[in-house]
Amino acid sequence: MSRRIAIVEDEAAIRENYADVLRKQGYEVQTYANRKDAMSAFDLRLPNLAIIDIGLENEIDGGFTLCQALRSLSDTLPIIFLTARDNDFDTVSGLRMGADDYLTKDISLPHLTARIAALFRRLDVIDQPPSPESLLQRDQLVLDVGRLTVQWDGHPIPLTVTEFWMVHALVKYPGHVKSRQVLMQESKIFVDGSTITSHIKRIRKKFTHVDEAFDCIETVYGMGYRWNIVPASSH
C-alpha cells in the first residue's frame, strides 16, 4: 500500500510540480489549496505525511494553524513546512508547533524527496527493535540512523531531520572540522551561512537542555564546526 502525502500549497504550479515528483516516487498525493479544504479532508482521513506552506491564500499564518490542528489529531504524523519564509522567527515558530522539519522553497526536489523518504523510514522502523548496525555511539551520544533519533546520556534529544543530519555529519568523524558548506550538503538544504549558524545554535540548545555541561560542538572560527571527543574518563 502506497503512502499518502498531503500537500497544502496555494500556488497551483508549485503544488502540482511537487505532487508530480512525489507521484513519480510512488506516493499517493492529495493536494489542497487552502486550510479549509485540507482540514475537512484530514477530518475524514489522515495522510501519512503532510507538506504545508505557511501562507495559505488569505491566511498569512494558515499553515501554523493547520499544523497545530494536525498535531492534535496525531502525535506521530510527520509534518514538513515548505515555505518561502526564511527568517529565524518563523522557523522557530514552525518547529515549536511540532513540525518535523522546516524547509525553504530553495530546496531542490531530490533533497525534498530524500527527506520524505527518511521520515517514512523512521516511521517504518519505529516499531521494530533497534538494529545494532544502524546505531552510532560516541561516548554519551547514541545516534539511531534508522529512526533519526539521538540520545544523550540516555535522554532522547528531539532533533528535526535537518538537525539530525547535521549532527550525524559532525559525529561521523569526531574531531574533523566540517565547514558550513559541508554541513549544508549533508543536511540536504541550501541556505546561507548565518542560517547554518542558527541551526547549530538550536542544536546546542537542545543538548544543553538535557545536559548543562554539554560542549561537544565546537566552533572553529573561519572554518566551521567539529565534534569534540569527550576525554576517555567515561570509558
Binding site: E11, A13, I14, N17, Y18, D20, V21, K24, A84, R85, D86, N87, D88, F89, T104, K105, D106, S108, L109, P110, F190, V191, D192, G193, S194, T195, T197, S198, K201, T219, V220, Y221, G222, M223, G224
Partner: protein, 727 residues
C-alpha cells in the same frame, strides 16, 4: 562645511532687550507726577491768593479797622504799638521772663530819641550812649502793660529826704487824659529797687500826688535797670508817651540825658496808642483754620496781626501713610531700608523743622508785600536758607477810598505738596518696580521656555539622522497647540514618513526576494520535473543551463534577504564574554585554508582580548571583511589583519593592497546594495550586502566601522572599533 555665524542674540536676549523699553514707563510716571505737582502748585498759589483776596475784600473800605483808636494812617515813630498779651503777666517776679514771647516786639530807643526838656534845656544829652532803653507795650485783661529795659551806666536813686521827684533817675509817663485835651504827667522815681510808687506831677514837677492806679516794679540788672508796670486802660486817652530821665552825678543831681518815645510833650506830639483791632481779629480768625499763616500789615509794612504759624501751614493736608499692623513688616523693612534710600537719592524730603528767617521781624518785607502795598496782588515762592523748604507767599492790598491802607499776607509752606508728591512717587515706583519685575521675569521665563523648546526640537532634529544618513530616532510630537508644537508635529510627521520610506527601501530587497522566491520555485520545480522526464542529450544541455541560471538567481535571493534575516536574529541574541584573540586567530587560520593563494599577515596583541559579544557574528563580520579584502587585493600582496586594544576599545583593522575607494563613496560602502566593484569583477552576483552586514554586526556590538584609503600605499583599510568587555 557650512559657515554660518551663530547669532549671539538669542530669542531670550531679544525679548529681554525689548522689555527694557518698559523702563520708559516709570520715567513717564515721574514726568506725570511732576506735571501734577506743578498743577497742584498753581492750584495752591490760586488758593492762597484767593484767601488773601477774600480777606482783603472783607477788610476793604474799612479804614476804621486800621484807624481804631488813634491809628493814624501815616506811620509815626512816636506811636506805641500795643500788642495783645494772652497770658497774665507777673509784675513782682523781678524778671522779664514772662514777657519772653512778646520781647520780639520790643522797640529800641536810643540815640535818635534824645529829647531836650525843661530839665535839660541846653543839650539833649551829656554823654553819647550813656542811656538807651527797650520798650514793649502790651494789653491784657483791660490793662496796659509795659516794660523798659534801661541801659544806664550809673543809677542815681531819689534821696530819702528829698521832696522833689525830678532830681534822680526817673520814668515819666505822659498821657492824654480820656476826658480832655490836657496832658497828665506821672513820675516814677524810686528810692531804691522797689515796687513802684508813682506820682502825678504838675508841669514843673511840683505837687507830687501819689497815683495808685499805676503799679509795677523797678529792679536793677547787670547794665542798668528794668521797669515793669501796669496802667488800667480806663486811665488812658488816645496818646501816650514814655521818657527816661537820667541823672549821672549824685551830687548835683542835674538831669544829664533824656530818652523819650515822643518828640514833644504836648497833646499833639505824643505818640498814638495803636491798639489791636478786635474787628480785624474776628474777620481773620474766621479764615484762620485754612492751613496757612495769615498776616495783616499796615502801610508801613508793620505786622498788625498774625494767625497761624508757618511750620504747620502746609496748605495741602496730607494724611501720613498708615503704617499699622496690617502692613507686612518685611515689606515695611524693604520699603524703609532699601527702597526709600534709593528714592530719596533723587527726591528731597521736606522737613517741618525750619525757621523762617524773615518771620521774627516785627515788620515784613519782600517783593510781594511791596507790590501789594503799591496796589497789585502778588505771589512769590521763596526758598529758605536750608534749601529744602519752599514757601509760597501771597499778598493782596487792602483798599480804602482808592488808597492802599495795608495788605493781607498769606503764607504757606510747600511741604504738604512735596510730601504728597513724594508719596505718590513712592507708590508709583513701588508699583512699577513690582510690575516690571513681574513682566521681566515673565518674559524671561517664557522666552527661556520658548528657546529651550526650540533648542530641544533642534537637538531632536539633529539626532534623527546619523552620520551615514540613516534615520535613527524619531521626534516626539509635542502636544502643545502653539506654533512650536505645530513645528514639532510636522517634523514628527516628516520623520515618520521618512522612516517609513527608509524602512520600505531597506526591506525592499528582502520583500523582493520573498516575492521572487515563489515564481523561482515554480520555474525550478518545473525544470527539475522536466529533467526527470527529458532524456535526450540536446535538451539536457539547455536544462542544465537553465538550472544554473536558477541557482544563481537563488544565490541572489538568499543574499538579498541575508541582511534582514541577520537583523532579526540580532534582535534576539544575547551577548557573552568572548575572547576576540581566539576568534580572530581561529578565523585567520580558516582563511588561510579557504584562500590558499592569499597571504595573510596577523598583527595581534598577545593574551586574551575580552569583549562583550557573540563570537559567531564576530567571525561572520571578519568573513565579510576578508572576503571583501581578498576580492579587491592585488595578486601576491598580503592582507594585514591588525588587532590591538586602545584604552577601553579594541581596534580591528583589515587592510589590503588594491584600488582605492572612490572619493565620493566614503562610508556609503557600508550601506545595503552599494557596491564599488568594476563591471569586470562581476563574475559572481554581488549585491553590496557584505559590508552592510559587517556594519550591522559592529553596531550590534556597540562599535563603529570605517573604511578609508591606506596612507602608506594604495589600498583600503576597514577599521572596526568595539568596546572592551567590562563589568
Amino acid at each position: 562645511m557650512n559657515l554660518t555665524f551663530k547669532n549671539p542674540f538669542g530669542i531670550r536676549f531679544k525679548l529681554v532687550f525689548l522689555s527694557s523699553f518698559l523702563l520708559v514707563i516709570p520715567w513717564l510716571g515721574y514726568q506725570y507726577i511732576i506735571e501734577m505737582e506743578e498743577y497742584l502748585r498753581r492750584g495752591q498759589e490760586q488758593i492762597v491768593l484767593g484767601t488773601a483776596q477774600a480777606l482783603a475784600t472783607a477788610l476793604n473800605e474799612r479804614p476804621e479797622l486800621f484807624d481804631e483808636g488813634s491809628y493814624s494812617p501815616a506811620r509815626r515813630t512816636e506811636d506805641l504799638y500795643v500788642y495783645p498779651v494772652y497770658s497774665p503777666l507777673s509784675l513782682d517776679d523781678g524778671s522779664l521772663l514772662d514777657w519772653r514771647e512778646y520781647q520780639q516786639y520790643e522797640v529800641d530807643y536810643g540815640h535818635d530819641d534824645y529829647l531836650r526838656t525843661d530839665l535839660n534845656p541846653y543839650r539833649p544829652y551829656e554823654k553819647e550812649g550813656s542811656l538807651s532803653f527797650k520798650n514793649m507795650v502790651g494789653e491784657y485783661n483791660g490793662s496796659l502793660y509795659a516794660y523798659f529795659k534801661v541801659i544806664d551806666d550809673n543809677i542815681v536813686y531819689r534821696s530819702r529826704d528829698a521832696l522833689s521827684v525830678h532830681r534822680s533817675d526817673f520814668l515819666q509817663i505822659s498821657m492824654l487824659s480820656r476826658e480832655g485835651n490836657s496832658v497828665s504827667r506821672y513820675v516814677i522815681a524810686p528810692h531804691e529797687p522797689e515796687f513802684l510808687y508813682p506820682f502825678k506831677v504838675g508841669d514843673d514837677y511840683s505837687e507830687p500826688i501819689h497815683e495808685e492806679r499805676i503799679s509795677g516794679q523797678w529792679y536793677e540788672t547787670a547794665d542798668g535797670y528794668d521797669i515793669e508796670l501796669q496802667i488800667p486802660m480806663e486811665m488812658l486817652g488816645g496818646r501816650l508817651g514814655f521818657a527816661i530821665f537820667d541823672v549821672d552825678d549824685p551830687q548835683t543831681r542835674d538831669i544829664s540825658t533824656v530818652v523819650a518815645t515822643y518828640k514833644a510833650a504836648d497833646a499833639e506830639r505824643l505818640g498814638s496808642l495803636k491798639l489791636p483791632t478786635p474787628e480785624i481779629d474776628r474777620i481773620v480768625a474766621g479764615m484762620g483754620h485754612n492751613n496757612s499763616r495769615i498776616q495783616i500789615v499796615d502801610r508801613g509794612g508793620r505786622v498788625l496781626l498774625t494767625v497761624g504759624d508757618i511750620q504747620s501751614a502746609t496748605g495741602l493736608n496730607v494724611s501720613s501713610r498708615i503704617e499699622d499692623a496690617q502692613t507686612n513688616k518685611y515689606w515695611l523693612y524693604i520699603q524703609n531700608k532699601i527702597l526709600n534710600p534709593i528714592y530719596y537719592q533723587i527726591l528731597t524730603k521736606p522737613s517741618n523743622d525750619f525757621i523762617d528767617d524773615l518771620y521774627s521781624d516785627v515788620t515784613r518785607a519782600g517783593a510781594h508785600i511791596d507790590s501789594a502795598l503799591k496796589g497789585t496782588a502778588f505771589t512769590q515762592f521763596r526758598t529758605l536758607a536750608g534749601g529744602e523748604t519752599r514757601l509760597l507767599e501771597a499778598a493782596h492790598p487792602i483798599l480804602a477810598n482808592g488808597e492802599v491802607i495795608g495788605a493781607v499776607v498769606v503764607d504757606q509752606n510747600m511741604n504738604g505738596l512735596r510730601t504728597f508728591r513724594n508719596q505718590a512717587l513712592e507708590t508709583l515706583f513701588n508699583t512699577i518696580l513690582g510690575v516690571m519685575l513681574l513682566v521681566t521675569l515673565g518674559l524671561f521665563f517664557s522666552a527661556s521656555r520658548i528657546s529651550s523648546r526650540i533648542r530641544s526640537l533642534r537637538n531632536q532634529a539633529e539626532r534623527i539622522i546619523d552620520d551615514t544618513g540613516r534615520v535613527q530616532n524619531t521626534i516626539v510630537a509635542s502636544r502643545s497647540s502653539d506654533e512650536i508644537g505645530d513645528l514639532s508635529r510636522s517634523f514628527s510627521n516628516i520623520v515618520e514618513r521618512l522612516t517609513q520610506h527608509t524602512s520600505y527601501l531597506e526591506n525592499m530587497s528582502s520583500r523582493l526576494s520573498h516575492e521572487l522566491r515563489t515564481p523561482v520555485t515554480v520555474v525550478r520545480s518545473s525544470l527539475e520535473n522536466l529533467g526527470l522526464t527529458v532524456k535526450d542529450k540536446e535538451s539536457a544541455v539547455y536544462l542544465e543551463r537553465a538550472e544554473e541560471g536558477i541557482k544563481r538567481l537563488n544565490i541572489i535571493l538568499t543574499n538579498m534577504s541575508e541582511a534582514t534575516r541577520l537583523e532579526q536574529m540580532l534582535q534576539t541574541e544575547d551577548k557573552e564574554k568572548i575572547d576576540l584573540n581566539a576568534v580572530i586567530h581561529g578565523s585567520v587560520e580558516g582563511y588561510k585554508l579557504a584562500y590558499p593563494d592569499q597571504q595573510f599577515d596577523l598583527d595581534m596583541e598577545s593574551g586574551p582580548i575580552f569583549a562583550n559579544g557573540v563570537p559567531e557574528y564576530i567571525a561572520q563580520m571578519l568573513d565579510k571583511l576578508i572576503a571583501n579584502a581578498v576580492e579587491f587585493s592585488y595578486p601576491d600582496q598580503p592582507i594585514t589583519i591588525y588587532c590591538h586594544t586602545l584604552r577601553d576599545h579594541v581596534v580591528i583593522k583589515v587592510s589590503n593592497a588594491g584600488p582605492s575607494l572612490p572619493a565620493e563613496m566614503g562610508d556609503r560602502v557600508f550601506d545595503a546594495m552599494i557596491s564599488v566593484r568594476p563591471q569586470e569583477k562581476q563574475k559572481q552576483p554581488h549585491l553590496g550586502i557584505g559590508l552592510h552586514i559587517a556594519r550591522l554586526i559592529t553596531e550590534f556590538h556597540g562599535g563603529q566601522i570605517r573604511a578609508e584609503n591606506r596612507k602608506d600605499r594604495e589600498g583600503v583599510t576597514v577599521s572596526v572599533v568595539i568596546p572592551l568587555f567590562y563589568r
